[in-house]
Amino acid sequence: MFSSLSEKLQDVFKKLRGKGKLTEKDIKDAMKEVKLALLEADVNYKVVKDFINTVTQKAVGEEVLESLTPAQQVIKIVYDEMVNLLGGNDTKLTFSPSGFSIYMMVGLQGSGKTTTAGKLAALLKKQGKKPLLIACDIYRPAAIKQLEVVAEKVGVSCYADYDKKDAVKIAVEGVNFAKSNRFDIAIVDTAGRLHINEELMNELVAIKSAIKPTEILLVLDAMTGQDAVNVAEAFNNQLGIDGIIMTKLDGDTRGGAALSVKAITGKPIKFAGMGEKMEDLEVFYPDRMASRILGM
């Protein structure tokens, strides 16, 4: 992931380093190339504009231009801004002080919610927790079965009710079941939906107010283009999200969505999905990711 963006940025930096002393024009030229590289990597148009403005403003200051290692300083500024863009460092999953935590997976169709629900259960189980998966997707063909298969793979229980046609009720009963059966985590899988589908967005709001999740996690496909920010913004505005899980980062996506959504929503990316298998979920570290992108 990010490799092609990384190559392009490193090219730009190499040119800068080769120059020794830098003029304002050198920096502006370099920023033009950075801008192109970011756009080609699907970073949101508006985010790119802001990013370039911020970096340019900081980089054309006298301290940088007059310093002995101007290129180094510019790269440092880009790195710091990149870490900022990716989300500072508050990316830890939070647990409820009550000892019983509820996580709700939401997102567009096909983004990876059901798979990620299973992966998260696997990860938490490894940490000694006892998670229950709750199947609240009553729409997609075989969605409940899919979660049951996933649960079995991970070796955790799954709460399902094939007869109920009310996602809110299933969520409530699932959570009650978890509490009365000594589970300490409930992970709620919900149906994929468009952020502009009012009826289905309201369903999520109803589930939220009924079960009061510890965290609502937006599951987002890393290959998403410019629309990523619309989606993240809409879910955040209508529902309030606590964090983002980027999936399908195991491919060769340039990862622009990952670089855009924190800036727009203010919510951090917490995990990265790195494959289809249940162990393919990684904690997301913005600083490491920035280093990787910049090849440092």
């Binding site: 148009y45 567009l108 298969v149 468009l194 290959m223 340039r254």
Partner: protein
């Protein structure tokens, strides 16, 4: 206002529209450069006319022959990365062909993803067509082999093959797809064939690489652009049409059985500028 000034701003605006629709910055710049030249050559001074010219240029890029083959027996192989809408689109296409009087069979060659077979079975029931399936974990090529036998025995017109989602970067999975393709070519060489790549309209620049890689592996004959009922415009197909000349054949506009439409290039371009 001076002629040139107005234009630069306008051209920047138009380029922004294209980039925001996921056409991609390179293709967008190329299209806008061409547009600038034509505007200059034809001395166009009305911004609305410039916009119309741009639409025309883009229409020309995506207006490729886009009818699904109409000779039978026909095999349709559906491929694409994870979660784009392959299985759902199969249900919709099967339904369309069936309502055109064709006898359709579906082969469940996604033997990998949890409950993928159950999902396809529900679709087959909705459509009212036969399904050929093995168990989870079975060899997908063997499912396709059986599908072809069934097609022959039951004198079906169309066999639609569902495959597991796979990233184009996974060599072994792409090889598995090649194997499925070989089975089709060897077992029923007389059949017509469509290999449809499903692309999610929200996809960014990765979509072009997907198209290149899948095309190299199994020769794509058309694209199904799904999830156009959202806010994403699916502009990446402009780049794909431009570079690879692969037509978009269908669009997906929802999760229901009849949320499938034949691709209409003009409507698509108009929607980019809405």
């Amino acid at each position: 206002k001076a002629f040139k000034q107005v234009d630069d701003e306008l051209f920047d605006e138009l380029e922004e529209v294209l980039v925001l629709s996921d056409v991609g910055v390179k293709t967008s710049q190329k299209i806008i450069e061409n547009l600038k030249e034509k505007v200059k050559m034809n001395k166009i001074s009305d911004s609305q006319a410039v916009k119309e010219l741009l639409k025309e240029e883009m229409f020309n890029i995506i207006n490729l022959p886009n009818k699904l083959r109409e000779r039978y027996p026909l095999i349709i192989l559906m491929v694409g990365v994870n979660g784009v809408g392959k299985t759902t689109s199969i249900g919709k296409i099967a339904n369309l062909l069936k309502s055109n009087g064709k006898k359709v069979i579906i082969a469940a060659a996604d033997t990998f993803r949890a409950a993928a077979i159950d999902q396809l079975e529900i679709w087959a029931k909705r459509v009212g067509c036969d399904i050929i399936k093995h168990v989870e974990g079975a060899d997908p090529a063997a499912v396709v082999f059986d599908g072809i036998q069934a097609m022959r025995a039951r004198k079906a017109d169309v066999l639609i093959v569902d495959t597991a989602g796979r990233l184009h970067t996974k060599k072994n999975l792409i090889e598995e797809l090649r194997k499925i393709d070989r089975v089709i070519n060897q077992q029923i060489p007389e059949a017509e064939k469509e290999t449809l790549l499903v692309i999610d309209a929200t996809t960014g620049q990765n979509g072009l690489i997907q198209a290149k890689e899948f095309n190299q592996a199994v020769n794509i004959s058309g694209i199904v652009l799904t999830k156009l009922d959202g806010t994403a415009k699916g502009g990446i197909v402009v780049s794909i049409c431009d570079e690879l000349k692969i037509p978009v054949k269908f669009i997906g506009v929802g999760e229901k059985i009849d949320d499938l439409q034949e691709f209409d290039p003009k409507e698509f371009i108009d929607a980019l500028f809405e």
